[in-house]
């Protein structure tokens, strides 16, 4: 009985010691996938702004699109007029849970994960302060 209990304790410790890194590893692989998907949506959004603003509108998160259209102008026309920067080379992609940030040489885009994939919550974002607690200032964002 004592031996069985000792084995059970060893098993519990093994599960903790082996299971935790395994979970973290799997989480890392999943995160790579999410990073790729978020980057693809951000790249497509940037390309559509210049070539097909209506398609870019379809990639906006609902609250952001609502905000863009709040003055009654169609989304595509607002995006054309907003003069979003040409993003340039993609520098970094960060994903955490349902949020992502894609940093380009000349632009930063924020995204959120919805049932139908990543959607842009803010674009045309630039830092206006060296204080990391001050948010980016974005041309397009949800209210």
């Amino acid at each position: 009985m004592v031996r069985r209990r000792r084995r059970a304790r060893v098993r519990t410790a093994s599960v903790l010691l082996v299971g935790l890194p395994a979970v973290l590893l799997l989480a890392g692989c999943g995160a790579d996938d999410e990073r790729r998907q978020a980057a693809t949506v951000a790249d497509t959004f940037a390309a559509d702004i210049a070539g097909d603003p209506q398609a870019a509108c379809e990639l906006l998160a609902p609250r952001t699109r609502q905000s863009v259209e709040q003055d009654g102008e169609p989304c595509a026309r607002v995006l054309e007029q907003d003069d979003l920067p040409t993003p340039g080379e993609r520098m970094a992609v960060s994903v955490a849970g349902h949020s992502a940030q894609v940093r380009y040489a000349e632009d930063t885009v924020f995204l959120s994960l919805f049932d139908d994939g990543w959607r842009v919550t803010a674009a045309g974002c630039a830092r206006t302060s060296s204080d990391p607690a001050v948010p980016y200032d974005c041309t397009v964002e949800g209210s």
């Binding site: 009985m1 004592v2 209990r5 000792r6 304790r9 410790a13 903790l16 010691l17 935790l20 973290l24 998160a61 609902p62 609250r63 952001t64 609502q66 960060s94 955490a96 849970g97 349902h98 949020s99 992502a100 940030q101 924020f110 959120s112 994960l113 919805f114 049932d115 919550t121 803010a122 974002c125 990391p132 607690a133 948010p135 980016y136 974005c138 964002e141 949800g142």
Partner: protein, 229 residues
């Protein structure tokens, strides 16, 4: 742990089983209320709500669980280790003043003083007996470190998810380890555990719970540290 015959598994292990069941019930409740809170915040921000399963596998849930687990295991590891050397006169949670220290092999039933039914490593001598002599604190401390590490990893992801929602840059693990979020979560749990266990040690001098091994006998004098063994 050896039980009189005929009592059965459930009766002999009722304490562990009831605490195991309460743990699962509390975790289920935490998950249920947690997903409601997470989704309320998502609706406020016009973002996607999540299913209960998705929330259970999220960093938000993981960090909330891990921050509490680490502090519990730290509390017990500290208490087990410190009560070797520190005493509280009159407390049933303490050794008698004057008995501080590791005690003799004879008192601890190790090596040549081991009994026929002593654990094998208590009898083995050498590194095995030394390791087994500290196994309780070691395992508690290892689980504490694992849970604290999990808190750091999951906490960073949960914090970054929130930061990017608020149009802020995400932070790396190094920056997160010196962030207010990490230390706020850590210390708010530590202080409550230290308060609870310190209070327990002192309350046990003057207060009683009839029949509980965590209490002295109801009639035991306040100045007596351990009224019975």
């Amino acid at each position: 742990m050896s039980a009189p015959k005929g009592r059965g598994f459930w009766k002999d292990n009722s304490l562990s089983l009831v605490f195991g069941a309460l743990l699962l019930a509390a975790l289920a409740g935490q998950a249920w209320w947690g997903v409601l809170g997470y989704n309320a915040e998502a609706r406020t921000q016009g973002l996607q709500e999540v299913s209960l399963w998705r929330y259970l596998t999220s960093s938000s849930f993981a960090v909330d669980v891990a921050e509490n687990w680490q502090s519990e295991f730290l509390q017990f590891a500290l208490y087990i280790a410190l009560t070797v050397w520190l005493v509280q006169r009159g407390s049933s949670e303490s050794k008698e003043p004057g008995e501080e220290g590791r005690e003799s092999d004879e008192q601890q039933l190790v090596g040549e003083f081991a009994q026929p039914d002593s654990p094998g490593w208590a009898r083995a001598g050498g590194w095995r007996t030394r390791l087994y002599s500290h196994s309780l604190v070691l395992v508690m401390a290892l689980v504490f470190l694992a849970a604290w590490s999990a808190q750091a990893v999951a906490g960073r992801v949960a914090d970054n998810e929130e930061r990017m929602r608020e149009l802020l840059d995400p932070v790396g693990l190094g920056a997160y380890l010196v962030s207010p979020d990490f230390w706020g979560r850590t210390l708010q749990n530590w202080q409550s555990e230290l308060l609870a266990i310190g209070t327990m040690a002192v309350f046990a001098i003057y207060l009683r719970e009839r029949g509980s091994p965590e209490s002295k006998e109801v009639g035991a004098p306040h100045h007596v540290t351990r009224s019975s063994d």
